[in-house]
Symmetry: C2
Subunit: 242 residues, 2 copies
């Protein structure tokens, strides 16, 4: 089961995790040689990985050469979350319009049951399970419409860690009534799946957008109440919007 990793894969995984660790979140240029040595590979595949991370938006090019960790304002993150909701909403609408293959629907129902289980776990909510199952549901949503284009774009948007639905989940436990928020989110999941199953495109789209707006309001609350969140955001420099 363990596929042999190419040097490029090593570079990509290693570099991404280093960037997300937050260690290099200053505005300094990232040294190719330093990272290549640290990851035990040559500069060539490391450079490829840097290019990739620039394309993902995690890094940004410097005019004079090289690149640095990207910085985002809370407004940027908010936009990314909302846009993700819009695109997922489109996926939901298309899925409803076109109909979804039975097996996928069955998978979705099962995943939603798993989320219910995580919410009702003895000893409080099982966060890890919730996060995983939630990510699974959103991935299924992206596959419902059977559109490679749509799927690709949604996947791309999930790459900005802060825009993905499960980002911050651990931070979010600081939110009052957070558990209620999760329960509410799950009710939205069921409503979305219901709308899609019933071929109600407009409703499926609206519900999915609304679902993203919940994540958005949680994020907004966090950044307003806890400005120091910036320090805990995994790896990306979060810059105060003036």
């Amino acid at each position: 089961m363990s596929e042999r990793l190419s040097q490029f894969d090593k570079a990509l995984l290693g570099l991404r995790s280093l960037v997300l660790s937050g260690e290099f979140t200053g505005q300094r240029r990232l040294s190719e040689v330093a990272f290549a040595e640290r990851l035990g590979i040559s500069r060539t595949p490391l450079r490829q990985a840097m290019d990739r991370l620039v394309a993902e938006g995690l890094l940004e090019r410097i005019e004079t050469g090289g690149c640095r960790v990207a910085t985002f304002t809370p407004d940027d993150i908010a936009d990314a979350i909302e846009l993700r909701g819009v695109v997922e909403g489109t996926a939901a609408r298309m899925a409803a319009e076109r109909g979804v293959a039975e097996p996928l629907l069955a998978d979705a129902a099962e995943v939603l049951d798993r989320i219910d289980g995580a919410l009702r776990a003895s000893g409080g909510v099982d966060f890890d399970e919730y996060i995983q199952a939630n990510a699974w549901f959103h991935d299924l949503l992206a596959r419902f419409a059977d559109s490679p284009i749509l799927r690709r774009e949604i996947e791309r948007m999930s790459l900005l860690p802060l825009a993905s639905p499960s980002a911050f989940l651990s931070e979010q436990s600081a939110i009052p009534d957070f558990q209620d928020s999760l329960t509410y989110a799950q009710r939205q999941h069921r409503a979305i799946l219901d709308a899609i199953t019933n071929r109600e495109g407009a409703r499926a789209e609206a519900l999915t957008r609304e679902h993203a707006r919940l994540a958005l309001s949680n994020f907004t609350y966090l950044t307003e109440q806890q400005p120091m969140l910036a320090k805990r955001v995994p790896g990306l420099a979060l810059v105060a919007s003036e």
Copy 2:
């Protein structure tokens, strides 16, 4: 004014234009050495350019190594056009909600006048002018909301040449009442700008989506009426959806 191009820039521009020329639209693997020689550069920057084009979606990786020109079904293109409309619609809505800086609005008004001029040119519609001004308008739309995230995503979606609003414009002259279609599109432009100026977010979004749907229906008409279009699609293998 002529900025010195890096080898990578040469590779990117050259390779993209070669791919779009359609010469390599078979399913064969693109040889790195061949292209490097043809463009007069070494394999390193060419390889970077290939990576970039893969990220853009113009090329796709081959499991055993290397990459080839990507293929799209008409359904894929249709999805891309629709999705572009959705994201542009979001930009329009956000612009209306947030308000747009005066200078940008003035630019937009001017561009729309240029389009009117292109439509009323003596000796028939000035297509080149229309295409250029139209692209300009859509670029302004992407900048209206003052959101780097949104702008980036819209730009990215314009990279798939077939999804961009002006793609096919020359082909589309084969459409009956095509000139009327352009006039209608321009009326939509004005309506969109009007909605944004009046801060009517929902209307701005709906109108922008509708605008994309016009392009979509033109594309659909073309592929249905002229299956041989595939041969004339610049550079991308268009595969019949079964």
